[in-house]
Symmetry: C2
Subunit: 325 residues, 2 copies
DNA sequence: TTGTAAGCGTTATCAA
DNA sequence: TTGATAACGCTTACAA
């Protein structure tokens, strides 16, 4: 491995002159420049970022903490992050929490040990302990961003899609399609998030009728346990708050000889490849996952550079109309 | 930030004693141990991995170079890699080449600058230049693994699924379903890879008839340009060498009122979530992407530790029967 | 059992 | 315009 000292010797200049030249802090004589360039080429010098990091006591590494990466929702966000970090010459660490069997505290220990420049949290964590953990990070003065869903603001920047707007958009669309009896179908959605959808419904609905709420529990059979209930309640529009669930419900409805859209419209919250693949193709609310990643990365960079940044970023969802609603 | 020196002072021991104690290179007096433990707790010491790396001239960072991460094929492999690296306390860098607008040479420069412990290449790169690049890495003595498809062996470990076996399995399955006129449908598949599928076909077929080969070009309309040709040739079994293409072709066939399986069976090469979502669900050849990632990580770790490793790993594909074939 | 001192590759300070 | 020196935090001969 060729070091600064090596090329210094080879070029008959001091190491610090070369260092300053390479970091363009000084102007050197044409002659010196030539000697340095030659030595670098001849010896094949590559700077050592680890030494730089130690010297400056900061790295160019940003970590993304994510439940799992083999999931289009998370990987789309991560790709957005990667795009921005790459443009600014930062490296991207990935820590898959579900996969690694690491506790949150262990992950954070890792972050400190590695002098991580900033941390982007994606996805939901075990609520109570998580808030404590993230507050610890802030205490250590590591820049942090949390991107996913609304949560009580705790002194770190938050990014999330406007779920009330998402709900309003979706419900208005269903109304437009002459669907009047709406059901929200979800899985494990905590109450405080569900309330945003109800709020969106109220905003979209002129009169005072209420939507049906249906929670799918683990191991439930959609055909046997859910569809009959939808029919009993004369539901003609389903707003499924989870894209994969929307796909599966659509399949079950088709299998039960219910016409999608004509009999029951299905609207998906979340718009990835799988909405396009589903038959019929799903009309979906796009929550802008890639944009969420991009903005998260921009905010973490602002923090790292001690520039101003938005404490809260709310993204506007939009609807993509296909066949199912 | 608390350093070794700080706790040394606080505990009235020398820094090197603590260092050796923490790395369990020596046994210390009970009393010393207690003092050290206390100091660490009171001052909240966290070791500095960057300094360690500089000292040892090696990092615990492995880089995955991948075209894009928001793709189930790549993210599944990456997740496998992440799992193994995490277990062995290595960190995972992701570099998305398609996304970053970085040339291969620039990426490799980055690897050297950051003292990357090892590099895992996933996916296809611009062939000619890529082989040159990867050979450079080997020259620099950075452990490298290439996981994707067969290529001329060039002195670095290779991992890929057995495509001949995949083809044989698939064709045998189609024969079993009484499909006799088989077409291979593909997109951008280079000839040397296509030949494996033909070889697999030969192995599965007793007589000497040949399959039809259909290449889908950019911008082609499956309904207008492909399906008529399949029908003209009395094709009753299609082996699609790209999962997404299999999904789209299935859609087009359904739209043309052709019964999947009964009229034309569709078999997909590649088995991710999207095969399950497709209607009808696709019978697929699973190429073991996660396992490919896992084995890649294991091999890179062996290399890093200067242990023995397999130069070539060929994974056995298997078939997952669903509805379409 | 513990401590001293040098050094990993880089850069900031100060001096020339 | 350049150079000597010390320092970032940690480890490792070598010495005690």
């Amino acid at each position: 491995m060729t070091t600064l000292k090596d090329i210094a010797k080879h070029a008959n200049v001091s190491a610090c002159t070369i260092s300053r030249y390479l970091n363009s802090n000084i102007v050197v004589k044409k002659e010196t420049e030539a000697k340095i360039q030659l030595a670098i080429k001849e010896l094949g010098y590559v700077t050592n970022v680890v030494a730089k990091s130690l010297k400056h006591m900061e790295t160019f590494n940003v970590a993304v903490i994510v439940p799992k990466i083999n999931n289009l929702y998370y990987s789309e966000m991560t790709s957005g992050i990667s795009q921005i970090l790459g443009k600014h010459h930062y490296n991207l660490y990935i820590y898959e929490v579900d996969n690694l069997n690491l506790s949150e505290d262990e992950v954070l220990q890792l972050m400190r040990e590695n002098m991580i420049a900033g941390i982007i949290f994606i996805g939901l964590f075990s609520d109570v302990s998580f808030k404590e953990t993230i507050r610890n990070v802030v205490e250590w003065n590591i820049p942090v961003v949390y991107a996913n869903r609304y949560m009580d603001y705790n002194g770190f920047p938050l990014l999330y899609p406007d779920l009330v707007k998402a709900s309003k958009l979706g419900v208005e669309h269903l109304f437009l399609k002459d669907k009047r009896r709406i059901a929200f179908v979800h899985k494990n959605l905590p109450d405080h998030l569900l309330s945003y959808f109800l709020e969106g419904y109220s905003q979209a609905s002129k009169d005072e009728n209420k939507p049906m709420i249906m929670e799918i529990e683990e191991g439930m059979d959609l055909s046997k346990d859910c569809i009959p209930k939808l029919l009993q309640n004369n539901i003609d529009g389903v707003f499924v708050l989870n894209e994969m669930l929307a796909v599966n419900l659509t399949k079950a409805l088709v299998q039960a000889d219910i016409r999608i859209l004509e009999d029951i419209a299905v609207l998906s919250l979340g718009n990835s490849l799988i909405s396009e693949i589903s038959t019929p193709e799903l009309t979906s609310i796009d929550l802008q996952n890639r944009e969420l990643g991009i903005r998260s990365a921009e905010i973490i960079l602002s923090q790292i550079r001690k520039e101003a940044f938005e404490p809260i970023t709310v993204l506007e969802p939009f609807i993509v109309e296909r066949r199912s609603a």
